[in-house]
Symmetry: C2
Subunit: 168 residues, 2 copies
């Protein structure tokens, strides 16, 4: 259980103890970020640091990388294993009011899956290594999936987010 800020709310159950399905870790992220204070809070901030990142896949999963080098970008899914899972309403440190977790990109969520759209720098399938431009997670974070990014379905340049209104 994490420290609570005013207006935050917890679930009546811990989603980490509801085993509807199981996740297998397929490898780990290598990043420059060794603790939370240093770790960029999103991909824009991560790219601004100029610090590259990499994915190291476990041996069994390496044949799965064949062909990924044809894509310029990937969606990387990670398992944010240091996050609490029961904080359903959260008040980010710099926000004026609390929000539901599904309106936030907070790492604390019922299923702590991190989603990172990254540029692929190089793929070494034999050694299970994918070099990336950058990433916004701690070094050693478990990797659970890599998907090729398709601009046709994944890119919505005019997607928007309204400012919070006083009545919100």
């Amino acid at each position: 259980m994490s420290e609570r800020r005013e207006g935050e709310g917890a679930l009546p159950i811990d989603p980490g103890k509801v085993p509807d399905a199981t996740v297998a870790f397929i490898g780990r992220v290598g990043s420059a970020w060794k603790d939370r204070a240093d770790c960029p809070k999103n991909m824009a901030a991560a790219r601004q640091t100029g610090q590259p990142a990499m994915l190291q896949l476990d041996e069994a999963y390496r044949p799965g990388l064949d062909g990924l080098q044809r894509s310029s970008h990937a969606v990387v899914l990670t398992w944010l294993d240091r996050s609490v899972r029961d904080l359903i309403v959260q008040k980010p440190r710099h926000a004026a009011a609390p929000s539901g977790v599904f309106a936030l990109r907070s790492p604390a969520r019922p299923n702590p899956i991190g989603l990172h759209v990254c540029r692929i720098v190089a793929v070494d399938a034999a050694n299970g290594v994918v070099q990336l431009d950058s990433i916004d997670v701690l070094d050693g974070t478990p990797l659970i999936d890599i998907k090729p990014y398709f601009a046709s379905t994944d890119s919505i340049p005019d997607a928007s987010r309204a400012e919070r209104e006083s009545s919100d």
Copy 2:
């Protein structure tokens, strides 16, 4: 174990039996697609059908929707529970050659997480319902996460994918 096409390869282990972490289902997808033959293969095809979709959240998770209505689009993560998980090299039906699973958006993957960028039509947090423009998964598919889509970090309009070369 699914039927194998030439050039496909399986993992030595079943990732569904490697419980590194557990996933909680937070609700279900409602879609027009009752069986695989009808189900669109990607979000572009789904949108072309003009068939809307919805997410129905379980009661405990509904407070998590507060604020999502401010976003025009969301990333919806689903658990593709009818997929095999050990097919590490796959030959899509219309492809000339096999590819690694991480170069494909196939539902059959070590962690069968579906990623769908959807337009939000309406959010009814009290009843746990999110109306979407469309979705490319079967009716009843488990829901595991919803994230607000941020064009600043999630949209890469010039992301590309090279054609497969003969030497590939």
